[in-house]
């Protein structure tokens, strides 16, 4: 039953032309973050420099994907939850012999998992295309890129949690989508404020949900930051822990709100 629900939800969310648009846009953004390889290294250090530039490319790709992923995730979750409420489909779903928890998980998984797969495979494809010269380089790229998979998943869980919370609060497709878009833009804009605008506070923006994924990935795969950058002082596992916290901080209240039938009590 849950599998049928998941299949129909996947068909509904990823119907034509959503999948094509998402793949195209994500691929365009990831590709624009790479550059043609014409690098000169010293013979002694070329392996470490090569790994460093792979790490930089992956982090750049993830950074450039942050805003589109936020927008797509927000929009798709809004469409999934709010449209069902608006069209009365949610009442039909809730009358089926399936738990509310299953409906929530199915709706969540139907957006987050395919988007994670698209984002990660695009990032890996673009990076591998740029650095592929033999099997060893492909393995090196893969061993770096595999870390991006959990990080993208955790980041998307935060965005989806935020969007599902907004959708459940509004229960209207257009307002939910608009509020999600505006919130994403606002938080994204605040996270990108430079030091000349907000002073030393700008250094701590790496802990925001928008910058934390790329910093976590950079720290894990050994990206080199400026010597006095705050990124060097933070452990990669602390950043990963922070990402796990972000991924559940909005999701758990939204899940509880949905499963405890608060809207029925209202």
């Amino acid at each position: 039953m849950q599998l049928d629900l998941l299949t129909s939800e996947l068909r509904k969310v990823w119907g034509r032309p959503i999948l094509e648009l998402v793949i195209g846009f994500v691929f365009l953004m990831a590709l624009s973050s790479t550059q043609t390889m014409t690098e000169i290294y010293s013979l002694e250090q070329y392996q470490s420099n090569f790994q460093l530039i792979i790490a930089e490319t992956l982090v750049d790709a993830l950074t450039s994907l942050t805003l589109p992923l936020t927008l797509f995730c927000g929009l798709l979750v809004s469409l999934s939850f709010a449209r069902d409420y608006e069209q009365g489909l949610m009442q039909t779903l809730l009358s089926l012999p399936i738990s509310r928890a299953s409906i929530f998980v199915v709706k969540f998984v139907a957006v987050v998992v395919p988007l994670t797969v698209i984002a990660w495979s695009t990032t890996f494809f673009v990076t591998a295309l740029n650095f592929y010269s033999d099997t060893n380089t492909l393995i090196t790229v893969f061993s770096h890129a595999i870390w991006a998979l959990p990080i993208i998943l955790l980041a998307l869980m935060f965005y989806a949690g935020m969007a599902s919370m907004i959708s459940l609060a509004t229960r209207k497709t257009v307002p939910a989508a608009l509020i999600t878009l505006l919130t994403s833009f606002f938080v994204g804009f605040v996270s990108m404020l430079p030091e000349r605008t907000i002073g030393a506070l700008a250094n701590y923006l790496i802990f925001t949900p928008y910058k934390a994924p790329s910093v976590a990935l950079g720290r894990i795969i050994g990206m080199r930051y400026l010597p006095d950058a705050i990124e060097n002082t933070v452990s990669p596992w602390v950043m990963l822990g922070l990402l796990i916290f972000y991924s559940v901080v909005l999701l758990v209240p939204t899940y509880l709100y949905f499963t405890k039938k608060f809207e029925v009590k209202e």
Partner: protein, 205 residues
Amino acid sequence: MNITRLGLVSLIVGLILLLNASSQHVGLNMIHSYGEIAPNQTGGYVLFMAPVGTGNFTCGYYRYPDRPVSIPELDPSLFDDVVLPVHLKIEDPTNKTVFEHDIVTPISYEMDFNVRGFYKIYITNQGNETTGIPIGLRFTQYEPINREADKYLLSIVLTTFGAVVTAVGFVVSFVFKHRKQRSNLAVNSGLTKHVMVSEVQPWLW
């Protein structure tokens, strides 16, 4: 995912890659120097290159003659060319030697970067003093030939595959729909006949 959607995805990805790969993105003038090389010692560099076609590999230039360095605070002699006899060896990514000669720097050598990978440069100082030996790469501006050949080829393959598969998908779905319509019509007309016969049956009997 049906065949039309697979084709559309391939077409979109191919077109985006085609737009990206059909233009030139190589750095036009690069010069690097790592450390110094003592007499009779060999220093090495590695170029990681995309297959961007023909470009000029230079050795011994701290600045190119047609691109003077104009930083007033710096002593211009810092950018003097290195004049030195050296033994230069260049290996392509398949470890094949493409250049091996005794030369006097500075020189510019036209190289064909037709494979993606590591090009290894070995420079043996045959002079009498320890010195840094800079190497560089130069490409002509806006030359379509300096696009990434493998990405360009892949983009054409993906675009063609996508276009063909999408077209086939549309044709198949059109034919399928048309046949379905015809079979529906046939079923409908059969039903009508059946109804008519059944209606007429008592009269026949």
